[in-house]
């Protein structure tokens, strides 16, 4: 769904680091280095960030399109 607030196993807050990880990864940095930088050292916390699947983005599109009904499907 959306990133869990904390690491399941140890309870460290990880949610706050996701956006940094994502933006820095898209700039071409290696995820491992970013996580080291952010002080996410334990593998339990690292997997939370690395394997996160933001499926909320997929769901939200449907709600967005409800709002934004500009593209109507042309049946012809």
């Amino acid at each position: 769904m959306i990133i869990p607030v904390r690491c399941f196993s140890c309870g460290t807050v990880v949610a706050d680091k996701l956006e940094t990880l994502e933006s820095r990864t898209s700039n071409g940095e290696s995820p491992a280095d970013i996580l080291n930088d952010l002080g996410v050292t334990r593998y339990c916390c690292r997997r939370m960030l690395l394997s996160n699947s933001n499926v909320i983005d997929q769901i939200i599109q449907y709600h967005e399109s409800l709002h934004d009904k500009r593209v109507e499907f042309d049946f012809s």
Partner: protein, 1164 residues
Amino acid sequence: MSSVPNENWAIIENMIKKEGIASHHLNSYNEFLDHGIQDIIDEVGGIDVETTGTPYRVSFGKIFIGEPRSVELDGSTSRILPLETRLRDLAYSAPIHLEMTVEENGIARETQKHHIGDIPIMIRSAKCETSKMAEKQMIEKGEDPLDPGGYFIVNGSERIIVGLEDLSPNKIIVEKDKVGGNIVHRSKIYSSIVGYRAKLELTLKADGAIMVKLPSSPVDLPIVTLIRALGIENDREIASLISNQNQVHNLLEITFEKAVLDRDTHCNVCKVCGLRILEKAKDQTQEEFDKENPDYENCGHDEVCGKLGDCSHKALMYIGNRVAHGMLDEFRIRKAESILDWGLLPHLGKERENRYDKAIFIGEAVCKLLELRMNWINQDDKDHYGNKIVKFAGPMIADLFRTAFRNLIRDMKYQLERTSHRKGSNIVGASIRPGIITDKLANAVATGNWGRGKVGVTQLLDRTNYLSLLSHLRRIQSPLSRTQPNFEARDLHSTHYGRICPSETPEGANCGLVKNIALSSVISVSSSFEDIIDKLTQIGIVPSRDISMEDRSRFCKIFVDGRLIGYTKDENKLVTSFRNMRRQGQIHSHASINLQKYPNKNASTRIHVSLSSGRVLRPLIVVSNGQPLVNHDVVSRTQNGELSWQDLIHMGVVDLLDANEEENALVAIDGTTEFSNEHTHVELFSSSILGAAASLIPYAEHNQSPRNTYQSAMSKQSLGFPTPNYNYNTTVREHLLVYPQNQLVKTRATSLLNIDKRPTGQNCVVAVMSYEGYNIEDAIVMNKSSVQRGLARSFFYRLYDAEAKQYLGGMKDNFEIPKSDENTRGYRGEKYYRLLESDGIIMHESVVSGGDVIIGRTSPPRFMEEYKAFDMTGPYRRDTSIAVRPSEFGVVDSVFMTQNEDGEKLYKIRVRDMRIPEIGDKFASRHGQKGIVGLLVNQEDMPYTESGIVPDIIINPHAFPSRMTVGQFIESIGGKAASFRGTPVDGSTFAGENADDLGNKLKEYGFESSGSEIMYDGKTGKKLKVEIFIGIVYYQKLHHMVADKMHARARGQVQMLTKQPTEGRARGGGLRFGEMERDCLIAYGASMVLKDRLLDESDKTNVNVCDHCGLLAYYDGQQRKYTCKIDGEDAQISSVTIAYAFKLLLQEMMSLNIAPRLLLEDKV
């Protein structure tokens, strides 16, 4: 373990990305809409209306399939999309229009298009609106862009036609069979055309005679008689149709004798040249004879010959006598002819002129049979995948449509002949009842009832998670009975390689009968017969009608789709040219050619060209002169999108081979092989031989094989994120994992199958150790704190729906809160309706539990007359409200209000329930290792590592030695390594990352390469004596949860008939005290416990028994007297305690005229 980094995956990837995961369904269905449906219409052609006045004909023209639409109650139509049909319980179907022309005396009058019915439209097929939409538009319309389609929607429910495995049609299959100690040789042909199939069976009996079993004949016919009936009268010609080998002819002798001895069909032939001899009848003049037999030429040898006439006619009569016994001569002949034209080998045509082809074909069937008899060839392998095809929606719907269309025609003909005084297009239009086709198709798809005893053809689409959907779309069923052993049919066959997944099959009754197609397999579509004949003629063949007698047995026979079309002298040249032309794109890439040669030089050489749809093909890289044609350059161009896999086929560097053609190929296992000139192909990608489910198992090659099978079955039960439009979904049961995670150890199929967008589990920190004994016997210990932080949290949705029906007489259902003061029958009590709003519907986000009414509804009373007749007070309305299932809880998630097809109000209400993992919930890794939660442990009590890591799950080490799921160990190390290096590990089967490299990665980060760590006991803080294997493993939560299963009962409902406790959780039933439990108590001598269970706490009853007659007596309430029907009022009556079931037995016996008497004695 050496991993071969194989880049060819890009080709498989391109193939599946381009075609879609359900392309076989879509192609099959599109093919049907494209021409299959027109073929069925053309086969019928038209209706001859036989009237008392001038007869006329309605001939059919082109067929048109419209767009999917809904027809409202007022007759208005509107375009619909799948989403709406799901919500409103409609069918996603389109109208079929057919051009019909009224012809009188062969002159066309007028042509008009008529609506003849509706056909269900496959989602994402060419006719489906969504197939033309861009991703964005689909989202706008509430559709899931990743939905592969390939299924139908009828009555709002998604139905899939599972692929049906079938024997290849039109193929001569020869086999040996043992019947009572004798070996019988058989030759079978399943001749089929669209929607119709006829089996022809030739048997070489123990006495040496070859008999044929015709579809509509009750008795077997001698084969010679059949060939004669087909118009070949010359015995020599008959023999040469079969073969020119002397040994074969010797075997035929008995068969011929059989036909000769048969007086009915006997006609004389010239012993010298084999020509049939005709002789004038006694009263016939030469002139009359010549006139009757204009083509007759005397061979000149007739001095040795006898007499008698037309043997083709006689043979026909022989058949007629058997199929239409006792009818008029003329009718018998007609019947026999129609059997030959319609029932015999229909794939060769249904006209008189096709009879010669049929004779040739039968001759070939006999030839193959006798070659088998001579042991020149081997019997055909029925489990060889070259002898099988898989039928998907196209042929299945065609079957159905054919019968439906014929029903419609019959009905139309009847209607038209009844109203024969009027004619013209309008009357034709009026005679059409579109419901015949619409209902037949919709009903069949909705129930899976295909007629002729075929049930279970369609199934409800499995949407447990995205993978289960994909796997369901790639499933194949065998028609073989699952109650019989069929050992060979269940076995994995070498021809399954690359076509059928070796791992993914259910356990138990369906094992090996239900299969799944491999990632690499391609299901063929049909290609043009005429084109191939042209191409073959170009290459050079001798047509079968022109072949000389000698060449017939020397040359190689060429079959195209089971039809003997000619001969060639140089079979190798023909096959090579064919393949070259195919690689150049001149021949359809799905067409296959197979050269069948036997070591025995007497056996005929055959070439089979197959064009049919439903063959399972697989792509292979072409090797030419010891050099694979796909090189690094080609692959990288495929990778960057410059080339598509289709381009590679057109370039001739990749071939699609069916199992038959593969028999001619020598396939190298991978690029590292030393190629010789013998090699024709090389495998494309090693792990693409697996199916959808098995290809998601990381390091599957390290597991014991059955574990992969278990996992393939289990992954379909795991919870995940099945669809992003779940808020508009009205699936009856659905699950959603709150925080799904991507796999840290993935396979190449993970992203290809979009599992990374629709994950089905979470990466858990898993330690392998024991913990207070709470993980023995496959239980798992879970970290309670992890659970509280959201691990494995899921939602369960259940849909309730209700519609307001209209009844006869204007009565209808009302949505309202049933009122207590209106004497509503079945009123539940005020508290159950407390959550309803004034419209009778529950409020969104209300918290509900078992028994609460969520849709208030009252229905008109049944049996109105009953009340009038007895002058009772009433009638009262009935409460037909919908309540939450007992033992379920939740929050009302969404309320849909809409109208169904009949314009009636339809409510669908979805209740969600958050499921936090608890003791008894089922979990599984990806290696067939399943277990239930045995204990939830607080974080401070869990063991911890030096760095403070606490496992989420602790599994028992005993899970490994006997099961040998080494893949899980590698995954565990890989998961840990992946989290350190920041990128997922590729664990693809046969092509994954090296396990040692992963261990080294751990070393780099200061861990042991073995994956073990020092751990401390959380309770005492003491170091554990051994190192613990700990790592990250992807775990799936399976949909078996205790919340859905736990059940207990003290008192409760009883069955009406037997007064025994009900069965099953849903009815609050009791737990059965069965036979074996009974045995235990008997053995133990605990008779009072036994009585307590079986009588006192079950169906204890007191009955009155007459002491004298021993039959049941009763208490007459009005006269306050015990009465026996036999012995009257003065009889001595005793009260006896028995089981109600026993009382029932006594009365049932009495209804059978048996008098069961109970002989009573006083208690001692």
